[in-house]
């Protein structure tokens, strides 16, 4: 077993850290307040290759491994989770899904510009009546011979407005249940697609989240991914990897809050000494450090399994559930260590705490992860 990172992995980690600290940190509080993302950040993220970092270079990606991706996600999430969720959707859901299951024509046309970061992708699975339960899709993609006709609504769609390429999961044969589901590539500017307003969220407020309505949207037949009825498998396999992205995001939110709390505890004085010297604070930090170490190991283990082409579905569910849950715990404690300062925006930890909450909810709630993990115990 080798716990050392390669020189290249460390270089990627440092690049992500430099980008986050130099570019993202400056106005992150204002962006969260105003719920806006900066176009220049996304452009820079694309130029640095973070939007297609794992895609094969033959499709214009960066060709980096999943371990590097975890390291980069952690660093960027320490500062701005609204940006890292965009990065996670592009890398682990859209690009990975296309690279593994789309045909060469589709890859040439859609994956390449996405991997270069020239275009942004979105993954449309959640529905008003079907959050993490992918089997009960109500959005329909009716087979009309020459094309598919889409009707329905997708909810909580990250990058909905920014993206030009949508991957949409929809029901073609309702009577076949989940075996009748298909996955499609849909151009966002296809007539009949409308967006709801930007969601006014508790955390990751800058992240571009909307509902997307399909009203008689015609999609060419060539845009279906894989065999007829492959959609459910496509969604499940893609989400397996997506969980590594969100797990490392939660890890970054936790370690970002921890670093701030540790620094604060060594500067802030109470009762004549730095508060770190009070055991109640030092032990809190000790507990936080252990949780973060565990979380990081789970993320890296799942990433390593994926890189070795070994099964990683359970490992990624464990990472996602644990990282999200400890992110909530660690950020809450970070606010506590900061006391009153933690409750105001200037010190960042209250924002990280709001962001942590979302990681327990999206891309499969912690409860759904426990379903996946517990089922795997019976195999």
């Amino acid at each position: 077993m080798d716990f050392n990172f390669t020189e290249e992995q460390l270089m990627i980690q440092q690049a992500a850290k430099d980008f986050a600290e130099r570019e993202l940190l400056v106005d992150v509080i204002e962006r969260d307040d105003n719920a806006v993302q900066s176009a220049s950040h996304i452009k820079k993220l694309a130029e640095l290759g973070f939007l297609g970092m794992m895609t094969d270079p033959k499709y214009d990606g960066g060709g980096m491994d999943t371990v590097s991706y975890v390291l980069a996600m952690e660093e960027i999430s320490k500062v701005d989770a609204s940006i890292s969720v965009l990065m996670s959707v592009c890398n682990s859901l859209v690009n990975w899904g296309l690279e593994n299951f789309a045909n060469e024509f589709q890859k040439e046309k859609y994956l390449k510009p996405l991997a270069r970061g020239e275009k942004i992708g979105a993954f449309l699975l959640s529905e008003p009546e079907a959050g993490s339960d992918a089997t009960s899709q109500r959005t329909t993609a009716e087979d009309k011979g020459d094309y598919y006709l889409f009707n329905g609504t997708k909810n909580w769609i990250t990058n909905a407005h920014l993206a030009s390429t949508y991957l949409v999961i929809a029901q073609t044969y309702p009577d076949k249940k989940h075996k009748g589901i298909n996955a499609f590539i849909v151009d966002k500017d296809t007539p009949g697609i409308t967006l709801g307003p930007h969601e006014n969220k508790m955390g990751m407020r800058a992240s571009d989240t909307h509902s997307v309505m399909f009203n008689d949207v015609k999609v060419p037949k060539e845009n279906r991914i894989g065999e007829d009825g492959f959609g459910f498998t496509f969604a499940m396999k893609t989400l397996d990897g997506g969980r590594i992205g969100i797990a490392s995001q939660a890890l970054g939110i936790a370690s970002g809050a921890f670093e701030r709390a540790l620094k604060y505890s060594r500067e802030r004085k109470a009762f004549g000494t730095e508060i770190f010297n009070h055991q109640s604070v030092a032990f809190k930090l000790s507990d936080m450090a252990v949780k973060i170490e565990n979380a990081r190991n789970l993320c890296l283990k799942a990433a390593w399994l994926k890189d070795q082409h070994l099964p990683y579905g359970t490992a990624s569910a464990m990472a996602k559930q644990y990282c999200a849950d400890i992110a909530m715990e660690v950020t809450t404690e970070a606010v506590q260590i900061h006391g009153g300062y933690g409750y105001v925006k200037e010190y960042h930890v209250e924002r990280l705490m709001r962001e942590a909450k979302l990681t327990q909810i999206y891309e499969g709630t912690s409860e759904v992860q426990k379903i996946i993990i517990s089922r795997s115990l019976l195999k």
Binding site: E7, E8, L10, M11, I12, Q14, A15, D18, F19, R22, E47, L48, G49, F50, G52, M53, P57, G61, G62, G63, M64
Partner: protein, 248 residues
């Protein structure tokens, strides 16, 4: 033009400095980086190559150091340098480093040799000037702007109380400082990937007489606590600055 950029491998600027028996820097657990001033000048060299490829044929990086400096060289390659050279040596005094560099450069041909104004470790600030004298070519130091206009090199250098714009004939040594580039370039994924196939050559160092030696090191003594003055009574500060510190 062919550009050579000299880079030093130094402890991260946030490193807590410690010494082993006060005789040598304690490098345990230290993260190493490209010296910040070298990284800025390197960034400018690469920007030039990217924006004016007709003027810049290649950018090579060179380091005098041990094998553990190769991570920094590879980062320079990831940022965009074309190839890298490491002169295998563990000397740390400026004179020996400049001598090693000059011995190598004398055999090659570079039009401009870039150095940072100072290293953040031993703060000698003298490799660039020494190198130029060894090579008997001009040097321009404290350079805060570098451009090539109509094939001619134009630099701006900081003087104490202003700046001067010069045109310089190649070959020469450019000693860069703050301003030459806005901030160091972050390597892209593509850059990191292409660095895998770029050449990193190792050459053996040559012997050099050391004119100076580091006898020992020590850390600053703990500073007396800051004397706080009541915001309502700023007159007291003036009084202290005049009577105690005697600086006004």
């Amino acid at each position: 033009m062919k550009i050579l950029v000299c880079i030093n491998n130094v402890p991260d600027t946030t490193t807590k400095i410690k010494f082993v028996d006060n005789k040598a820097f304690d490098s345990a657990g230290v993260q190493w980086i490209i010296n910040p001033w070298d990284e800025l000048t390197l960034t400018r060299a690469i920007e030039m190559k990217e924006t004016q490829p007709a003027d810049i044929e290649s950018v090579t990086v060179i380091n005098v150091g041990r094998a553990d400096a190769e991570a920094s060289i590879r980062k320079a390659l990831a940022i965009g340098a074309d190839n890298g050279i490491r002169i295998n040596s563990d000397t740390s005094d400026s004179y020996s480093v400049a001598f090693q560099l000059s011995e190598y450069i004398a055999k090659e041909k570079y039009d401009i040799i870039f150095c940072g104004i100072e290293s953040s470790d031993y703060n000698g600030g003298s490799v660039g000037g020494m190198l130029a004298e060894f090579l008997a070519i001009p040097s321009v130091s404290s350079v805060s702007m570098f451009e090539i206009k109509d094939g001619k090199v134009v630099v701006k250098r900081e003087i104490d109380g202003g700046n001067e714009t010069l045109s310089v004939q190649t070959p020469f040594v450019l000693i860069g400082q703050k301003g030459i580039a806005i901030e160091p370039k972050i390597p892209s994924m593509r850059g990191i990937m292409t660095a895998r196939t770029k050449q990193l050559t190792v050459v053996e160092g040559v012997a050099c007489n050391q004119l100076i030696e580091f006898v020992d090191f020590d850390l600053p003594k703990a500073k007396a606590a800051c004397r706080k003055i009541d915001a309502e009574n700023v007159k007291e500060l003036i009084d202290l600055l005049h009577n105690e510190a005697k600086v006004i």
